[in-house]
């Protein structure tokens, strides 16, 4: 949607406001889900919430209000690739966290996400 940018490539004020509302809503959803996860046990059950579509829900709600249903459809299509990559990343994360501890292990998982999501986007969506 290059047309949404102004002629000199800068993001228009309206888009900035939309981004701000997206950020506020997504941040709130993520924090709320994280708080819920803190209360659940065991950890493997609470961990399900680490795969909750919090950012997606907030962002798609705003997309629906500002750009309409077809934009939601297009975004969700892209999200399938991201979610498949998330499955791959977390699966690798089980072993990488065991080997390298949480921080480096989760960075390895993110690297897997970038590779898988990027590959799926190039091959199927672009």
């Amino acid at each position: 949607m290059i047309a949404s940018l102004s002629p000199n490539g800068a993001v228009e004020l309206k888009e900035v406001l939309i981004l701000a509302v997206r950020a506020l809503l997504a941040g709130t959803f993520v924090a709320a889900v994280a708080a819920l996860a803190e209360l659940l046990r065991p950890k493997s059950f609470a961990g399900i919430l680490a795969g909750a579509p919090s950012v997606a829900l907030a962002s798609l709600l705003i997309t629906d209000v500002t750009k309409g249903e077809m934009a939601v459809w297009q975004s969700a299509l892209g999200m399938i690739a991201g979610a498949v990559a998330m499955v791959a990343a977390c699966t690798v994360g089980i072993d990488s966290v065991k080997r390298f501890r949480a921080f480096r292990g989760s960075l390895a998982a993110i690297a897997v996400w970038v590779l898988v999501a990027g590959g799926l986007y190039v091959v199927t969506l672009r």
């Binding site: 290059i2 940018l5 888009e15 981004l19 997206r22 950020a23 506020l24 809503l25 941040g27 993520v30 924090a31 994280a34 708080a35 803190e38 209360l39 659940l40 046990r41 065991p42 950890k43 493997s44 059950f45 609470a46 961990g47 399900i48 680490a50 795969g51 909750a52 579509p53 950012v55 997606a56 962002s59 798609l60 997309t63 939601v72 297009q74 975004s75 969700a76 299509l77 892209g78 999200m79 399938i80 991201g82 979610a83 498949v84 499955v87 990343a89 977390c90 994360g93 966290v97 065991k98 080997r99 501890r101 949480a102 921080f103 292990g105 989760s106 993110i110 999501a117 799926l120 672009r126």
Partner: protein
């Protein structure tokens, strides 16, 4: 989801140790809400999560503007919060809990695929807001069904490996804590068959801090090798809190260590009670583990608990007891 009758807490009949005893009750199968954790939610942690969520959403929005909605949509499933969340869990509860968190995230991520597919299938046919609501319901149903289905399947499949799936990395903090405190440790085990000692000894540099281990799965060996009083074993059986404490005290005394760990449970790792005790210079901690997740997972829980308790009693005492 508690399996079986809640365990009876036996009174220790061995010579009363001076440090206070802290008890943990661990149900392997229980799933639910623990309201006591509410106090542990820190505003700073929530702010970090908020920032990550907001950043990913903005990044997705800008990508949508620059490269198109599909490219922006890919980023809606970016696991940005993972490093912060897992590091926090590891810091508070250990690496094994961080691994458990990622295992759960795999299930949630599969649910996320179903979420996105549902939106694609319904958007345009019904109002998008309703499609999103339906997709959230699909995520909840799919994720919880996969989680509980996976647990049942794992329990039904039974034994796959004798050794539990516990990495050496989980024993490293114990050895590090002992080394830092200038302490030594010894382990007396029945159900875990020497795995706790083996894991501790697998950590590089552990030879100086791990005095050794004794595998004593019978009343005779518990009594002769770990000095567990024969009358206690006769009166209460092999699997009680008092026996676990006596094993920990016995191995500690016999091997001249500062920290003693005792583990007693059913020899075949099958369902049933397991008691883990750890005695240190200033603390005694005893955990009662119950519920059945299958022999392999049960053994894993036992070994992790033994490592956790060993580390906690080796730490310098500060204020109120924590987990």
């Amino acid at each position: 989801m508690t399996a079986g009758t809640p365990p009876r807490r036996a009174e220790a009949t061995t010579a009363a140790p001076s440090p206070p005893v802290e008890h943990l009750d661990i149900d392997r199968t229980q799933v639910g809400v623990d309201a006591s954790r509410l106090a542990r939610i820190s505003p700073r942690d929530m702010a970090v999560r908020f920032a990550f969520g907001a950043t990913v959403s903005v990044a997705s929005g800008i990508t949508s503007l620059a490269l198109g909605l599909r490219a922006g949509g890919v980023l809606l499933a970016f696991p940005a919060v993972l490093p912060a969340a897992l590091t926090l869990v590891e810091k508070r509860e250990g690496t094994s809990e961080a691994v458990s968190d990622v295992r759960g995230a795999v299930v949630g991520a599969v649910g996320m695929v179903f979420f996105a597919v549902t939106v694609v299938a319904l958007a345009g046919r019904i109002p998008a807001a309703l499609a999103l609501l339906t997709a959230v319901a699909v995520w909840v149903v799919t994720s919880t069904a996969l989680y509980f289905g996976g647990r049942r399947m794992a329990a039904a499949m039974g034994e796959q490996h004798y050794l539990p799936d516990v990495g050496v990395i989980e024993a490293e903090p114990v050895v590090e804590t002992l080394r830092r405190g200038g302490l030594t440790a010894a382990v007396g085990e029945s159900v875990s068959g020497g795995v706790v000692a083996a894991l501790l000894l697998a950590v590089p540099g552990s030879a100086g801090v791990v005095r050794g281990g004794v595998v004593a799965p019978t009343a005779a060996t518990m009594s002769s090798l770990l000095d567990v009083p024969a009358e206690l074993l006769e009166r209460e059986g092999l699997i009680t809190e008092a026996v676990a404490r006596a094993m920990a005290e016995g191995v500690r005394r016999r091997l001249g260590a500062d920290v003693g760990v005792g583990v007693t449970g059913p020899a075949d790792g099958a369902q049933g009670l397991t008691y883990v005790a750890a005695t240190g210079p200033a603390r005694i901690r005893v955990a009662c583990i119950h519920g059945d997740r299958g022999p392999e997972a049960n053994r894993g829980d036992t070994v992790r608990t033994a490592l956790r308790l060993a580390r906690s009693v080796a730490e310098p005492r500060r204020g109120a007891a924590g987990t």
